[in-house]
């Protein structure tokens, strides 16, 4: 039952969702609403996995005084500060907790992602080459989009924003829709395989 049990459990849970979609009876609705709530609650209680993994990794690093162990102390201090301070303040929306969040997490998150501007600038300068006909088309489309989506595009040529809109509305939509249709159908096939027990990768290794 170590492997078969979870597969059967997943199939029963999934069947409840599918059957409730096919037969709209009050009794099935009650069961499905309850199971929906169970899903939300289960997801909420799984969140400590990241915390435990970080602790295991960084406590080991500190105890063995591996390279950079001082930074591990900073990581754990930051983590426990937000947990303990949060528990003390009693609410996520508390003004002081919000102050700490806006002073630390917001700027660090925003700045880490803002580094991407430099990386994309440097990478596109270095690697974006019109080596083949396909690459040339990609390059031209990118350049037209880059200029057309900003106000200076209209100043350079009044029709440029219209061309940019046309690219987004037609060839972009066509390409992305084709990819998304394929991905959706693939996702549905995988979902069906999971429900009937063919796909078992999520169960992990031995045992």
């Amino acid at each position: 039952m170590r492997r078969e049990g979870p597969v059967i459990f997943a199939a029963i849970a999934g069947l409840a969702v599918i059957i409730s979609g096919l037969f709209a009876t009050d009794a099935l609705k009650v069961v499905k609403d309850e199971l929906d709530q169970w899903y939300l609650i289960t997801t909420a209680f799984m969140v400590l996995v990241g915390l435990i993994n970080l602790n295991l990794l960084h406590v080991r690093k500190i105890s063995q005084k591996k390279e950079g162990w001082g930074y591990s102390i900073v990581l754990l201090a930051g983590m426990y500060f937000f947990i303990v301070f949060g528990l003390m303040r009693g609410s996520l929306g508390d003004a002081q907790y919000g102050w700490a969040y806006n002073a630390t997490i917001v700027p660090m998150s925003a700045t880490t992602f803002s580094l991407l501007m430099f990386y994309i600038g440097s990478a596109s300068y270095r690697a974006f080459r019109a080596r083949t006909a396909e690459a040339t088309v990609l390059l031209l489309s990118a350049v037209v989009m880059m200029i057309g989506v900003v106000p200076i595009g209209r100043v350079i040529w009044s029709r440029l924003p219209d061309i940019t809109s046309w690219i987004l509305d037609y060839p972009n939509t066509a390409g992305i829709r084709g990819i998304q249709l394929g991905a959706c159908i693939g996702g549905m096939a995988t979902a069906l395989r999971i429900l009937v027990g063919i796909e078992r990768g999520h169960l992990g290794g031995e045992g």
């Binding site: 609403d33 929906d36 709530q37 609410s91 998150s109 440097s122 106000p151 100043v155």
Partner: protein
């Protein structure tokens, strides 16, 4: 080493410095390039504008603090529009910083609307886990799905607006601020398609191409595209903010990047010619 060889092999730190200087200079000395509202932003604006006073708009912050420069100005502009129209807002989201993002927007916008009260005109229910399943649950019983407490840990029973919002069917429209997954697809398949509810989005520029098929099929009414879309909405609600202020720097940086790409390609073509 030839000029063209150097042209396509500039040290990356030179590129970083030039980008940094251009952004800084244009922010300090803006050019004043005109911003024109595009069709998709206008459609999103018109959809909100059509709602009758007292209608409930569900606003979803499906973005994190990393997308603040694009999303927060858009959310503030939409809130200003909504409050001027006399609409009411339930603010939630599928990303874990949703509550904090709505808090930032409310704290700033409410200063300009002292008659708007928390709990009466605006409720921040914050993030709840579950993504698409959460939305499905909110169609049958929003209070149970949201466990009856808001972002500030207040009970729904203490918030008069929550008495008018029992299920998603009580909202007249959904406006989602999206930057990835979960996002607009969950809203479309779980709520707005089944309930045939008007749905508009403000998307980070990187998410815009992926949303175009949904726009073309009519499942999304209008999209605010990145910081440009936010600037256009600020223009429509006549409240210039950081999005409008940032567009000149955006323009200058895009031109600079195109020049870098052209330089790199010219260097490549000329050195290839020289070797052949």
């Amino acid at each position: 080493m030839s000029f063209w060889h150097t042209a396509q092999n500039l040290d990356r730190r030179i590129i970083y410095v030039v980008l940094f200087l251009v952004v800084t200079y244009v922010l300090i000395k803006p050019i004043g390039l005109p911003i024109v509202v595009n069709r998709e932003t206008q459609r999103a604006y018109d959809a909100v504008d059509k709602l009758a006073a007292g209608s409930i708009l569900f606003v979803s912050a499906d973005y994190g603090s990393s997308s603040i420069p694009e999303m927060l100005p858009a959310e503030k502009a939409v809130l200003r529009h909504v409050f001027r129209k006399g609409l009411k807002v339930i603010a939630g989201g599928m990303w874990n910083e949703a509550g904090a993002m709505h808090d930032l927007a409310w704290q700033e916008v409410s200063k300009d609307f002292p008659d708007k009260k928390y709990g009466v005109d605006f409720v921040n229910v914050g993030y709840k886990p579950g993504a698409g399943v959460l939305l499905e649950r909110m169609i049958s019983d929003a209070h149970q799905a949201l466990l009856g407490i808001d972002f500030y840990s207040k009970n729904f029973s203490d918030l008069p607006l929550m008495g008018e919002f029992k299920t998603m069917k009580d909202a007249k429209m959904v406006f989602a601020f999206t930057s990835g997954d979960p996002g607009e697809k969950e809203w479309v398949k779980m709520v707005t398609d089944p309930l045939r509810m008007p749905f508009a989005t403000a998307a980070t520029a990187v998410a815009v191409p992926g949303q175009m098929p949904l726009l073309q099929s009519g499942q999304i009414i209008g999209i605010l595209k990145g910081m440009g879309g936010a600037a256009e909405y600020e223009l429509l609600v006549k409240s210039p903010g950081s999005a409008i202020a940032g567009m000149d720097a955006q323009s200058a940086t895009h031109i600079l990047m195109v020049l870098f790409i052209v330089l790199g390609n010219l260097g490549y073509l000329m050195t290839r010619k020289q070797t052949t």
